[in-house]
């Protein structure tokens, strides 16, 4: 299974973290420090796998972002590379040629998307279309709620409360 997902910028700034195995806050920062120093120093055109603490980290760089996933030693590395690519394609489809800034300012959305792609450290949805549909459904749900809360009646209700 995937133990965690990390998105790290080329400068070593973390853009997204998701932990599927229990790690304390302290361990999390340590893991991020260690891995970013290992991965960011690796040159281009090297293989995408790093042995790390008896686990394996599969990473791939897209533009200025490194997508890293940590897996067990006997998990399939190529499969995880495909998962990463899958996730990136979905992000790309959602944001329309995604860039780092999209992930910075929509950081919670990136999480929601990831939650539709992976669950409990496993891939849950291999169809990009389905993920897009689910995200859109959630978005519309939020939008309706927002509209409702901004509607005149709700403002009046708040004032008179």
């Amino acid at each position: 299974m995937i133990h965690f997902v990390l998105l790290i910028s080329r400068q070593g700034v973390v853009r997204l973290t998701k932990w599927y195995s229990p790690y304390t806050q302290k361990e999390r920062s340590k893991v991020i420090r260690e891995l970013s120093s290992i991965i960011l120093t690796r040159g281009p055109r090297l293989c995408n796998f790093v042995d790390w603490r008896g686990l394996k980290v599969v990473y791939k760089r897209y533009a200025s972002l490194y997508f890293c996933m940590c897996i067990d030693n006997d998990d399939n590395e190529l499969e995880i590379l495909q998962v990463i690519h899958h996730f990136v394609e979905i992000l790309d489809r959602y944001f329309g040629s995604v860039c780092e800034l999209d992930l910075i300012f929509n950081f919670h959305k990136a999480y929601y998307i990831l939650d539709e792609v992976l669950i409990a450290g496993e891939l849950q949805e291999s169809s990009k279309k389905t993920v897009a549909r689910l995200i859109a459904a959630q978005d519309s749900l939020v939008e309706t709620a927002k509209e409702e809360s901004n509607s005149l009646s709700s403002i009046i209700a708040q004032v008179t409360k």
Partner: protein
């Protein structure tokens, strides 16, 4: 009144917060605009969030929590204080707020979060919600943050969802079950049936995929539980078109196969089908992995997998595939090393790869290949590779080579001559940081493999002579070993003078003092060797032209000639002639030594100083001007001969270490008079004191090399024992009470070599026998030289004494004479030297302790005046060196004043 004011102000602040609250966007923007002020901005934002999060307005609260979640995820801010606020958001009907609450909770909750107990009911409610997104939120939360308690409470609710008609919910519930089962393994009974049902779900492949994922993880914990499901897994393996699912199923089979070998026959066919048909590399690799690790008995599919591995290698554009190819080969059992050999070229080329991970894999594979027949070829490739590689990998290679070749007493090696030169080549690698290991092996081989000693000295010479090597601090340990070898085995050297020059070259001042001490000690040994060879030559020539009295005169003519004035010719020029040991050469060498060592005699470091003074003392004796008359000449000559012979004897014969407890096993001979006092002490007492040369100068090695001399006339265990008794009488307070050990000669330092355990129960006599007959003890393979090792001990070895030495001194009797007695002998030698030297520099500082030293010298000199040929069994005395050192220390630090102190202090060290 006061309360109403407080309420009003809290309402108004809440209103202000609501109206002017910064959104997450604002926070991110402000952080990005001023990266340098980040810590300040974060703490300011935190203060703001702490205020806003207490707001009664749900939007204000949720925005505050959203900002906090951001800070926690990206800037590692601790958000545990907000756990309760996150829970407050969960029951809200507004999806946005609920989602923020769940997100915060799943990012921050862990088993130590106490308020997590409060969420159970809310989650149960959400799991039963008719809205898919709400159920999804609850399931996602459970899948990352479920605790044991939560799992137990909620597993039934999740179980109900496993049969839900809403496939999206069903899929997520299936995946979430994994986390619940990991936390609470007992609940597997509840969900097992529905999980199996889901695996057979035909309507939605995603549910099958999720279920197989769960079983894949669970089978890693206890495969035997899932063996009954093998038919279902087999069905998926045959039917499924989904690569993700197939990969998971293959993994499950890889875990089931060791439990049920009959499965192999069934799955071989589908696996080879998949390998042939699929285009997905991930699936191919998974098949290859399964076949190479579990299905190696099936020729067809095994060969197919190997072909696929080769395809991986051929597609060399993709470093991922190359890495995985190497990884696949490394999964093979050792039986299939021929497969690795087949791909040897690819693997060796991979050593050159720019990717350290690939290099590392390749190195591992190659080290697995090394055997007796190819070790030379592969090692040469690897050493060359290390020259080309970056420092990190170069040392990885060297380390792997060193450990492989030395494994199990160098079992891979036949050609030690080659290995010694390889060690030399490794030392010359500019990145080499494995000095310590190389040093250890050089000395180890020197002691264990007699046949290779001549090659060792050649390698040592090459290392010592190169001034460039002195610069690298990592090599100093190697040079130390080389120096020791050059002194110890100087008789194999083609040109000892060259060694002396190398050992005293100016750049040796770059060495740490402890290594310099070894260098100087080596010089000492070489001087003795050269002089003894010279004397041999004279004797021979005397014999050959006995009736020609001119021969002897000629020698001494040269003698006086060169002594009077020394020219600047380099020694090597003098050595053009075949005859190495002319007086001219020797005298030149002495001058060189004197010039180089003199500055060291005032060195701060006692180890260096002491040895430098030893050497100077020796040089002084050997350089005495030759008087005109022939009688006195021969008298002096005789004297020099005596000293040289004596010291030479001390150095020339080698014995390996002896088990420490061997001493205790020797029965004390009945005619052994331990308390006998020294009767001829006065006759030996000289006027001056001198340094005591030390022998076990190579302490860092972890064992003490034992040297011994052969002439039984020189060894006198009885006297050293009585010396001990005497000493004990005077300084009883520093001795342990030794009732029964009292009788055993030489057990004064019971800790000396205690690393031997009691498993060696043969008597020392037995050991003596063995050491004299190494072939009975050591394993000899074909033309392989003898590598000496003891039965039980790894760190101890028995060297056979060199019976065939050129002087023909083969009457070795006391095979474990100790270094202490040697030390004492050499002490006496040095004493004689210094007596001859008269009032040399080296002795002046010892006046303060003269009487004590005299007592030492008394015993010591007595040693070789007694002719008792009895076998002496002694413990080697590692402290002797230290004792001397301490004495030296006293001498140099306290100077002239304290005779009293120097009497007492050194004994503390006993």
């Amino acid at each position: 009144m006061a309360t109403s004011t407080a309420t009003t102000s809290s309402i108004s602040s809440s209103l202000v917060d609501t109206l002017f609250q910064r959104s997450l966007d604002d926070l991110i923007r402000s952080l990005r605009s001023n990266p340098s002020l980040e810590p300040v901005l974060i703490s300011r934002a935190l203060a703001e969030i702490r205020r806003e999060i207490r707001s009664t307005d749900q939007d204000t609260k949720s925005i505050a929590l959203e900002k906090l979640t951001y800070l926690s995820a990206i800037h590692h801010v601790d958000m545990s204080f907000a756990s309760f606020h996150a829970i407050e958001l969960l029951p809200l009907t507004t999806h946005r707020c609920k989602r923020v609450g769940y997100q915060a909770a799943s990012l921050s909750f862990n088993s130590s979060t106490d308020v997590i107990l409060l969420v159970t009911n809310q989650i149960r409610k959400d799991l039963g919600s008719p809205s898919d997104p709400v159920v999804a939120l609850a399931l996602e939360f459970l899948s990352v943050a479920a605790t044991t308690q939560l799992s137990m409470d909620l597993v039934v609710d999740v179980h109900n969802l496993l049969a839900s008609s809403r496939f999206n919910v069903r899929k997520k519930a299936t995946a979430t079950v994994l986390r619940l089962l990991l936390e609470c393994p007992d609940s597997v009974r509840i969900v097992f049936k529905k999980l199996v049902d889901n695996m057979e779900c035909v309507t939605d492949q995603r549910i099958v995929s999720a279920t197989v994922g769960v079983f894949c993880e669970l089978s890693g914990l206890d495969p035997s539980l899932y063996l009954p499901l093998a038919p279902e897994f087999y069905k998926i393996l045959v039917d499924s078109k989904n690569n993700w699912v197939l990969i998971k199923v293959l993994k499950i089979f890889a875990r089931l196969l060791p439990l049920e070998p009959r499965l192999a026959k069934k799955i071989v066919e589908p696996i080879s089908q998949h390998m042939r048909k699929t285009n997905a590399k991930s699936l191919v690799f998974e098949c290859v992995r399964t076949v190479l690790s579990c299905l190696d008995g099936y020729g067809n599919v095994f060969n197919l997998a190997l072909d696929k591995v080769k395809e991986f290698f051929i597609s060399d554009q993709d470093s991922n595939l190359r890495y995985l190819g190497l990884l696949a080969l490394s999964m093979l059992k050792p039986v299939y090393s021929w497969v690795v050999e087949e791909n040897q070229t690819v693997i060796i080329n991979s050593l050159d790869d720019s990717d350290p991970n690939i290099q590392h894999q390749a190195l591992n594979l190659i080290m697995g290949l090394v055997n007796e027949s190819n070790v030379i070829e592969l090692s040469d490739v690897l050493v060359n590779q290390a020259l080309k590689s970056d420092p990190l990998f170069a040392n990885e290679i060297l380390g792997a080579l060193l450990s492989s070749c030395s494994r199990n007493f160098y079992e891979l090696l036949v050609d030690f001559e080659w290995y010694v030169s390889l060690l030399g080549a490794m030392s010359r690698n500019p990145h080499c940081t494995r000095g310590e290991e190389i040093e250890r092996q050089l000395v180890d081989i020197a002691l264990r493999v007699k046949d290779v000693q001549p090659d060792l000295i050649q390698t040592a010479r090459d290392l010592l002579i190169d001034p460039a090597l002195l610069e690298n601090p990592f090599l100093h340990r190697i040079l130390s070993a080389a120096a020791w070898i050059s002194g110890e085995f100087v008789e194999f050297s083609r040109n000892p003078f060259e060694l002396v020059e190398a050992l005293l070259q100016p750049r040796t001042n770059l060495l740490p003092t402890i290594v310099r001490a070894v260098y100087i000690q080596a010089v000492f040994k070489i001087i003795i060797f050269c002089y003894s060879s010279y004397l041999d030559k004279i004797e021979n020539s005397e014999l050959s032209c006995q009736n020609d009295s001119v021969g002897k005169d000629q020698v001494f003519e040269t003698n006086s000639m060169t002594n009077s004035g020394c020219d600047d010719d380099s020694i090597s020029n003098l050595l053009k002639t075949d005859d190495l040991f002319t007086y001219k050469c020797l005298s030149h060498m002495l001058n060189l030594i004197k010039a180089a060592v003199l500055p060291l005699s005032v060195c701060d470091e006692v180890e260096v100083q002491e040895r430098a003074r030893n050497v100077l003392g020796l040089v002084h004796v050997l350089q005495i001007p030759v008087p005109e008359t022939e009688t006195s000449t021969s008298k002096d000559m005789n004297h020099i001969t005596n000293i040289v012979r004596l010291t030479q004897n001390a150095f020339s014969e080698r014995l390996g270490p002896v088990p420490t407890n061997a001493q205790e096993k020797v029965p004390v001979p009945t005619d052994f008079e331990l308390l006998d006092n020294l009767f001829d002490i006065k006759s030996i007492l000289g006027e001056d004191d001198a340094e005591i040369p030390t022998f076990s100068s190579f302490l860092p090695r972890g064992w003490h090399h034992q040297e011994t001399k052969v002439e039984e006339s020189e060894e006198q265990p009885l006297e050293s024992t009585s010396f001990l008794a005497d000493h004990r009488k005077r300084h009883g307070v520093y001795y342990l009470s030794t009732e029964k050990h009292e009788t055993v000669g030489g057990d004064e330092f019971p800790q000396a070599n205690n690393y031997l355990d009691a498993s060696i129960t043969e008597s020392v006599l037995d050991l003596t026998h063995k050491s004299l007959n190494p072939s009975s003890k050591s394993k000899t393979t074909k033309s392989r030289p003898v590598v000496i090792k003891l039965d039980g001990e790894e760190s101890v070895l028995i060297c056979d004494p060199k019976l065939g030495k050129k002087k023909g001194k083969d009457s070795l009797q006391g095979r474990d004479e100790n270094a202490a007695s040697l030390n004492e002998e050499s002490t006496s030698v040095a004493k004689e030297i210094s007596r001859e030297a008269g009032h040399g520099n080296s002795v002046s500082r010892h006046h303060g302790r003269r009487d004590k030293k005299h007592r030492h010298s008394k015993h010591k000199n007595h040693l070789h005046e007694n002719d008792d040929p009895k076998d002496g069994k002694h413990h080697k005395n590692p402290h002797s060196r230290y004792k001397h050192r301490k004495r030296d220390d006293d001498g140099s630090s306290t100077g002239l004043d304290v005779a009293q102190q120097s009497m007492d202090v050194p004994d503390l060290l006993l």
